[in-house]
């Protein structure tokens, strides 16, 4: 595999490097500019929240990092290598439909391992860790929304990823379940120091989980601001005044972008 050239290549500790990213959707003769000149870099073990109005291309950006979409222009590297679909260390957690209705909890959790031809044992371990072992024979239709997303997380963790991508993972859940799962993601991040990229439209979620917050403008998505948020990464943060100040700050940046973007 060709490494990026040494003079422009990312540093040793960089997990995600995005430079001048452009994405154009073509439908017939119509061209839509979705992402325009997006650049950022994320050190390994850090967490980044991508937030912006709907249609700003944040999900597309995440799909590009997962190798599911090919950018029209710019450079994207994950772990110093060009992005490939189904990269061994990348795991994606989706909002809906992530679980296959015809597979039990246990089969869903082991799916990534099975596709990669690895032993499904690691999935059983993660199911036990996440308190899902007793539900292992159930189908997704027999689970609550929170339990389903737990299984989605279990499937991602079974791959022992170094990069965890999440696409609005908790937006369909009620507030209590959402906070419970945010705490779960936080504790996973604290234990494993997995690099985390979270797409969300929930400002509080971005501030709670993202130690960096990348605010995107409405279409075409451009970087409005990259806000350092060093307070994030601790469970107590949610109850501190600094958290609420940060929420307000992000809200203002979003509002300004909405008007001028």
């Amino acid at each position: 595999m060709a490494a990026s050239s040494p003079d422009r290549g990312p540093g040793a500790g960089v997990m995600v490097e995005v430079e001048g990213l452009r994405l154009v959707f073509r439908q017939g003769r119509e061209e839509t500019l979705v992402l325009d000149g997006v650049s950022f870099s994320l050190p390994a073990g850090e967490s980044l929240a991508l937030i912006g109005p709907s249609g700003c291309g944040k999900t597309s950006l995440l799909y590009i990092l997962a190798g599911l979409l090919t950018p029209t222009g710019g450079r994207v590297a994950v772990a110093r290598a060009p992005v490939v679909r189904g990269r061994e260390g990348t795991a994606l957690i989706l909002q809906d439909y992530g679980l296959l209705p015809w597979k039990t909890v246990r089969e869903n959790a082991a799916l990534g391992l099975r596709i990669r031809g690895r032993s499904p044992e690691a999935a059983d371990r993660v199911l036990r860790d996440l308190g899902l072992w007793d539900l292992r024979h159930r189908y997704p239709a027999q689970l609550s929304g929170g339990q389903r997303q737990r299984v989605g997380i279990a499937r991602a963790l079974a791959l022992d990823p170094d990069l965890l991508l999440m696409d609005e993972p908790f937006s369909a859940l009620d507030a209590l379940t959402r906070e419970e799962l945010q705490d779960l993601v936080l504790s996973i991040w604290r234990q494993r120091r997995t690099t985390l990229v979270l797409v969300t439209h929930d400002i509080a979620e971005a501030v709670y989980l993202g130690r960096r917050i990348l605010v995107l403008s409405s279409r075409p998505g451009r970087v409005l601001a990259e806000i350092p948020n060093p307070g994030a990464g601790r469970p107590e943060y949610r109850r501190e005044p600094a958290f609420h100040q940060m929420v307000n700050q992000v809200r203002e940046v979003l509002a300004r972008g909405w008007v001028h973007g």
Partner: protein, 250 residues
């Protein structure tokens, strides 16, 4: 759909029997016998073993035709639904409406007038029903499910194995239920030439002899045969698609 219980069957059969009797009394023609004589003829046919033999012959023909239609129709339907272009669709739309019966002379010349041509005739009609149903099912696979397995690194055959095939499987059973009923109806046509066996031949012979009691005994046997296939498809679906019936149980 609610679970079917034995008394549901009894009520349904009762409604059918009452309707039959009412119609027979109202029409009062020899060509439509009362239920009693038809059942007596059915009982005699079964007791003598003759009707059982005809039913068995028909059952085998339908089973072979259905198996062949599944073996060819399911993979081709999956392919057309996922990767078949517009040409494939147009081909199907053009060939599906053609009454397959018009090919009977050709089939008889090529395959002879024996069992093979009868099975092929039934197969031809079932094949299109299964092909179209499976193709539509494969085309309607939830994009999110495809994204999920693609992100996990699945490609080619793995995408079919983990998503396309299981997502389409319940539709295969729907197609199977529809087409076994059609198959039994087609029997009557396919078994009216060059055979002395099969329910179609039995009904045809009784009709020619104006033995309407026997004729309707054959009709009842056809209904039972179709019902048997339907039930078999249901049972098979239960085994193959357990998630379809999985409900929330707290």
């Amino acid at each position: 759909m609610a679970e079917r219980r034995p008394w549901h069957y009894l009520v349904a059969i009762g409604i059918l029997a009452a309707g039959w009797e009412a119609l027979a009394i109202a029409l009062a023609v020899p060509a439509f016998p009362r239920l009693g004589p038809a059942l007596v003829a059915l009982w005699q046919g079964v007791a003598e073993g003759e009707l059982l033999l005809h039913t068995w012959v028909s059952l085998c023909r339908v089973a072979y035709a259905t198996a062949l239609a599944l073996i060819l129709g399911v993979p081709l339907g999956l392919y057309l639904g996922r990767s078949g272009g517009p040409i494939g669709s147009v081909l199907v739309y053009l060939t599906h409406p053609i009454p397959k019966v018009v090919f009977l002379p050709v089939i008889m010349v090529v395959l002879g007038i024996g069992d093979l041509s009868k099975v092929f005739m039934i197969f031809l009609i079932l094949f299109f029903q299964i092909l179209v149903t499976v193709r539509d099912g494969a085309a309607a696979v939830e994009p999110g499910h495809l994204i999920a397995v693609t992100a996990l690194g699945a490609r080619g055959w793995q995408v079919y194995r983990h998503v396309v095939i299981p997502a389409t499987l319940p539709r295969v059973f729907t197609a199977l239920r529809l087409s076994t009923a059609t198959a039994v109806a087609v029997l009557f046509f396919a078994e009216t030439y060059a055979t002395t066996h099969g329910l179609g031949a039995y009904v045809w012979d009784a009709w020619s002899a104006r033995d309407y009691d026997d004729m309707f005994a054959g009709v009842i046997a056809m209904a039972v045969l179709g019902f048997g296939f339907h039930t078999a498809a249901d049972l098979l679906e239960r085994v193959c698609c357990p998630w379809v019936r999985a409900q929330v149980r707290e």
